[in-house]
Each structure stands twice: as C-alpha cells, then as structure tokens.
Amino acid sequence: MSTAVIPATLAPAIRPGRSLWQDAWARLRKNHLAVACGFVLIAVVLICFVGPRLSPWNPEVTNLALKASPPGTMETLADGSMAKHWFGTDTLGRDLLTRIMRGGQVSLMVGLVATSVALLIGVAYGATAGYLGGRTDAVMMRFVDVLYALPFMIFVILLTTMFGKSMLLMYMAIGAVEWLTMSRIVRAQVQGLARQEFVEAARSLGLSTAVILFRHIIPNVLGPVIVYATLTVPAVMLLEAALSFLGLGVQPPDSSWGTLIDDGATNMETSPWLLIYPAAFFSITLFCLNFAGDGLRDALDVRGGKD
C-alpha cells in the first residue's frame, strides 16, 4: 500500500486554527438580534450610571408646585434657565427620568451582586460535588434537591425581612437562593471533566484537590457558567422588582425600577407616564438580557440551561 498523498488542490483549504472563543465570537456576531441587544444594554447602563451626572435635576428634591406633571413640562432652575422634565414628574414633583436612572442603578446592581453570589456558591458547590463524586456527591445533590422543592419566593421574602433594611444583605439573600441550577449545571460538566487525562495528570503530579478544581477544572466549565450567569441576571432583577413591588424590597427614600413601577401602577389612572416609562425601561432591559444570554448560549454551543 502506498502512503496517502494530500492533493495539492486541497492544501490552500487548510486555514489557521481558531480557538473556541474566536469561533464563538464569530457566531455571536452573526446573531444580529443578540448584538443589537448587547448595544441596548450598554446604552441602558450608560444612561443609568452617567445620566444622573448630566441631568439638571436631583432625583430626591421634591417640588410640590409641579406634582405629577406630564412629560415635557418645563421648570425654571435655580440659576434662572429653563429645563425640561422629559418624562414628566412624579406625585412629589421629582423628575421621573432622573429617578428612573437612579432606580436603574439599584436594579442593575442587584442583578450583578446577586448573580455574583449565586455564581460563587453554585460553581464552588457544583464543582466540589462533581469532582469528589460517590457518596459525597449523592448527599450534596440530595440537599440541592430538597432546596429545589422549597417554595423559594417565600424564602426570599423571609430572608429579606430577616436582614431588614440592609440593601447589600438583601441582594446577597437573593443570590443565596439562586445558585441551585448553577450548581447542577457545573456538577454535570465537572463530572465529565474529572475523568479526562489532563486531570489524571494533575493528580499524578500530586496537586491538591483545591488546586486541581480551581486551576484545571473550573476554567473548563466557563462557557456554560457565563451563559447561565447571563440568564440569571434578568431572573434576579425580576425577583427584586417583584419584592419591591410588594413593598418588601428596596425601601424609600431609595428606589428601584420595582418601586417605580409600583408607584406608577398606583397612579396609573391619573398619570399613566409614571407607569409607562419605568415599565418600558425594565421590560426592555429584561428582554435584552434574555436575548443576549440566548445568543451567548448558541454561540458557545451550550446545551441545557433553564429549559
């Protein structure tokens, strides 16, 4: 038998290799909806965090002469110039747009902090269970099963009442409830990785379990973790808004999109803009986060996840 010869015509077809991340990036860029959502999200973040500095209004200063005035109302500033309330004012005469920006800061921060907490617990827990396997794994996952079956909205409510008025603790309480799915996803991934040769090699070098987990295994589960984290952010923001809507979340004088929507729903009949604008900001942000997450999932080719 003669050795196979590669025909010269095929040679140019061999392209330089691309890494998984480059591949994923290329796929993501083709998904126009996801890219558009990404830009909208960047815009929302900029509006919320930079906007208040540019706004002539202080979101906490009330003006009882301009209670619940419709969008476009003009008001004279202290220096005599006129400025417009683009989205109108609320029932205490505060500028709605500036309040939406401030509330957005809180809502977005909840999403970030709570997701980070969920990420930390979920990844550490799932990786440990998946790597150790055997009885430890069985016990740890049984515990997750039990927690899964708990009515979790109720526990978020109980946790937030327990931690009272501290907003940071409230964020963390939400995160502490959201890590279950993350731990399941990570465990399943780690189980597969733990049997691979490079882990075997690390073990034969005498590395400790913690080093193997954090240096060799966790970097390899990054794809699914990123995807699921992106999808956790909207879930967490929804939860915070629901709590605030019920009056159990963010307390005045602080506000979040949830409390603004609550205000708006109360005054819907007389001043609909108080509901429309915060609800639009909130829904568009949720929509974009979900789509960016879905786009990432397709780009990184991650299976499973929420549904």
Partner: protein, 305 residues
C-alpha cells in the same frame, strides 16, 4: 414504580419538615415582633398577649408545641387578627387564590398548547413567527407590568371588567389572564420545541406512510412525546402561579391567601406566616409529586432510571 413513589413520598415529607422549621426560626430572627406595631401598646397588655401566645417560653418548647398542634391538624390562632383562627382565615381566602390559579393555568394551557402545536406543524410560516414573536414579548413582560396594561385597556377604557376587588362573577378574568399569559408564552415555546423534535422521528414517518390521517399523527402520535417538556414544566409553573398570587392579588386587590401572607410578613404574625407557608409547601410538594408521577407514566425511561 412503587419504589419510585415511596422514594418521592419520603422526600416530600422531608421538604415539608424543612419548610416548617426554617420558617419557624427565620421569622423569629427577623427584627420586630407581632405586637410591636403600629401604635405603642401598654406594657401590661403586651405581657398578657405574649403569655397567651406562649412567646415567653423557650424557643425549643414553642417549636415542639407548635409542631404538636400542626400534627393534630390545629393551625393555631392568628396573632395579628385577634380572635381569628388561621384555619378560618385560610378557608376564606384560599378558594379565591385557587380559582385564580387554576383559571390562570387554564389560560396558559388553552393558549400555549394550540399555539405551540400549530407553530411546530406550520414551521417557518407566519403561523409560526406570529405566535412565537408574541410569546417572546410575553416572557419579558412581568405580571406587574402586564396587569396594569390589561386594567388600563379592559377596565378603564372599555369598562368590561372591574378594575380591582372581588365582587362580581367576572372578577377572576383579568387576574387569571394576567398570570396565565406569561406561562402561555413559556408553554407555547416548549410545546413547539418538543413537537419539532418528535415530528422528525421515524415512527412519525411510519405512521404517515401507513396512511394515518395528518391530524391524528399530530394529535395522537406526536403529542404524547412532544408534551413531555410541558408536563415537566407544570410543576414549576404551578409553583410560580401559587407564589405569583402575591403580586396578582396586590395588583387587583383580591382578598386571597397571597395578600394575607404578605401582610402577615409585614405584621410579623408568626403563626399566620407559618400556617400559610406550610400550606404553600404542602401544595407545591403535592404538585411536584403528581407531575413526577405523570412524567414517569408518560416516559418509561424516567421510571427505570
């Protein structure tokens, strides 16, 4: 199958016990107590109340006496509604939540299933894109945005329904639709996905080749497999609908169990909180248990693993 059932039953009992204990201790750790607000209470009145509800006893004693009463089926009196029994409060409020929840589920299945099936059968036509785009939007509109929108259209503008309250026979419609729409969106997406997967399989082609009528292939042969993800979703959906009642009942000002739970948290009404949470836990566990059995019955693979 028996082993599977017993296993799940044991797990359910553990869950209810955990919920009972966590709720009992967590709510007592929260700042405030049932007799703290709103106006200052004379110390001697307060003392009588604290003694009557046994709050002066050690925590462990309170825990075990409470558990003893629950095991006997006694849900104890409420601490904030003086002279009311928790079981009476629940008996009055729960039917309202139940009616809303079940009709929301009806709306979700009634809209979601047909939309998903049609979208899968007529893939990549406007019968697919139309409903699926609506479903995408529906998923991102939370109930506390959807509710006010529906109120504005059907309550304020067209005056078809009451804006809030529980007085007339039609008062369940808007709350049920508000809650049902978001789940209809999820169910539509899941049904479409499940059906598409099944419709490509060989046994469907065989059925068609045998000359089985088209509608029968879809509704009898494909639907059983295609519905699996939806059935598995029913547990979480019902859980969401139950706890979603907190928000719906606030939007529409309904005197249901959700309102009582939320106000009992505000009032630190330890005994009413415990009673409602345990009821919710029993409900959720029962629903999860039933959907697990249903999935096992439809899909033998689950039973055997």
């Amino acid at each position: 199958m028996l082993r599977f059932t017993l296993n799940r039953l044991a797990q359910s009992i553990v869950v209810i016990l955990v919920v009972f204990s966590l709720t009992f201790f967590m709510i007592r750790l929260a700042p405030g107590d049932p007799f703290a607000s709103p106006k200052a209470m004379p110390p001697d009145v307060r003392k009588v109340l604290v003694e009557r509800y046994g709050l002066d006893k050690p925590l462990a004693v309170q825990y075990f006496t409470t558990m003893g009463s629950y095991l006997k089926g006694d849900l104890l009196p409420s601490m904030s509604y003086q002279g009311m029994w928790n079981s009476k409060i629940i008996k009055d409020a729960f039917p309202i939540s139940l009616i809303i929840g079940l009709s929301a589920l009806g709306v979700a299945l009634g809209l979601g299933l047909p939309a998903g099936i049609i979208a899968a059968v007529r893939k990549n036509t406007w019968l697919d894109y139309g409903p699926m785009s609506l479903a995408l939007i529906g998923i991102c509109l939370p109930t506390f945005v959807m509710g006010p929108i529906l109120i504005a259209i059907f309550g304020l503008k067209w005056r078809l329904f009451n804006v809030a309250g529980w007085f007339e026979k039609t008062d369940w419609v808007l709350p049920a639709v508000t809650m049902g729409l978001i789940y209809a969106a999820y169910i539509a997406r899941m049904t479409r996905g499940g059906m598409l997967e099944v419709l490509n399989q060989d046994y469907i082609r065989t059925a068609r080749a045998k000359g089985v009528p088209g509608w029968r292939v879809v509704l009898v042969h494909a639907l059983r497999g295609g519905l699996l993800p939806v059935v598995a979703f029913l547990g979480p959906a019902l859980a969401g609908i139950t706890t979603g009642s907190f928000i719906i009942e606030k939007i529409f000002n309904l005197p249901g169990l959700g309102q009582h739970f939320v106000s009992s948290v505000f009032n630190r009404d330890y005994s009413l909180i415990l009673a409602t949470v345990v009821l919710y836990a029993v409900l959720l566990v029962a629903v999860n248990f039933l959907t697990d059995l249903l999935v096992a019955w439809i899909n033998p693979k689950v039973r055997l693993s």
